[in-house]
């Protein structure tokens, strides 16, 4: 009875080592990447001309593979729905009163700049490193900071859960609506310049057709979604402080 876990460990160790050696040999056999071919070369050469965006990663995310991005933001939406449903039982909660005066003042000074930073990252996503995903995550970080430093009821009075919900749904609807414009123009779902969106002057703020709009939509979705996730979880943790440790609640 005592030997079984030991044998299990030894077998798993050998299996892992074998797989690792085989995969490493595969990596050693890969061709050198001095010259790129296929889609990567196409993206690097022509992304600027075909989409008007100077950020190739943004061009891939929101033009070449925009449908993929729509699916990925749906995953976030599903996670938000799941967490909200898991924690939806509790109607009221007591919020913590937050941290010290110094922390509150410091975050009060920092928060507008953080929000400005997130906005810049979202709006300039097509000409510099950044985009909807990154900027949305910074937005969520601001709400997380407010939650921790000021207490969750303060945060929910500034950014009510209803507002987050409508922001997230609005982001999804904006994304799909822009996609449907391409469908109406007869060039396919989520098509960019071929659907008649203006390319603008390359490198300026208003350029690259749908990419800035899709950046804003994804930023709304990600920012509202992640902050809603955090709010649900911290609300739960605030309420469970009342119970003795380890006791089942029902």
């Amino acid at each position: 009875m005592n030997i079984r876990p030991f044998l299990f460990r030894i077998t798993a160790l050998f299996l892992c080592a074998f797989l690792g050696v085989m995969l490493f040999r595969g990596i050693a056999a890969m061709p050198p990447k001095e010259s790129v071919t296929g889609p990567a070369a196409h993206y690097l050469e022509r992304a600027s001309r075909e989409t008007g965006a100077r950020n190739v990663v943004g061009a891939i995310l929101f033009d070449y593979r925009a449908f993929d991005t729509l699916g990925e933001s749906t995953v976030i939406f599903t996670a938000v729905c799941g967490i909200s449903m898991l924690f939806s039982r509790r109607k009221f909660h007591r919020s913590s009163s937050g941290l010290s005066f110094i922390a509150k003042r410091g975050i009060g000074i920092m928060a507008p700049f953080l929000i400005m930073y997130a906005t810049v990252i979202i709006l300039f996503g097509h000409i510099s490193p950044g985009g909807g995903f990154q900027g949305g995550t910074i937005f969520a970080t601001v709400t997380v900071l407010l939650c921790v430093v000021f207490g969750s009821s303060f945060e929910s009075s500034y950014f009510p859960p209803k507002t987050k919900e409508s922001l997230e749904s609005g982001g999804a609807l904006l994304f799909c609506g822009i996609g449907l414009v391409g469908l109406a123009a007869g060039t396919g779902f989520l098509s960019n310049l071929s659907a008649g969106f203006p390319a603008g002057r390359e490198g300026s703020l208003l350029s690259a057709g749908t990419i800035p709009l899709l950046n804003i939509a994804v930023g709304m979705k990600v920012g509202a979604g992640l902050s809603a996730i955090f709010y649900s979880m911290i609300k739960m943790l605030d309420t469970t402080n009342d119970y003795r440790e380890g006791g089942p609640i029902r």
Partner: protein
């Protein structure tokens, strides 16, 4: 051989995550193992797209060099990080509920207390 060092790091992180998932009994540690697996997958994608001496795939900041790292793995990793955040939040929420229901995080205890 030094060019293969990032792959070695990927392997080590993957091994640590796999070890945590297989042999740890605490649910929080298993969750940490899963996020380690995510991190190693993301790192593998980024490393696969690297070219020697390549600059970032943004024309504005690339400077005079014409060699850029491959953009597609970066786009995939970008979304994978945010999705990993959302899914690990869901994972931790389920663990919170399990703890409230069973009063323990040990997977053996949770299995025994069923019903």
């Amino acid at each position: 051989m030094t060019g293969n060092a990032p792959f070695l790091v990927v392997g080590i992180i993957f091994f640590l995550g796999m070890y945590a998932i297989l042999f740890e009994r605490n649910l929080i540690k298993i969750a940490i193992g899963i996020t380690l697996l995510e991190a190693s997958a993301n790192l593998l994608l980024i490393v696969l797209g690297y070219r020697t001496g390549g600059s970032i795939p943004v024309y504005t900041l690339a400077g005079g060099t014409r060699t850029m790292v491959l953009p597609t793995p970066q786009a995939l990793t970008l979304t994978a990080i945010v999705i990993g955040l959302a899914t690990s939040a869901l994972l931790l929420s389920l663990i919170i509920l399990l703890y409230r229901h069973y009063g323990t995080l040990d997977v053996r205890e949770i299995r025994r207390l069923r019903g």
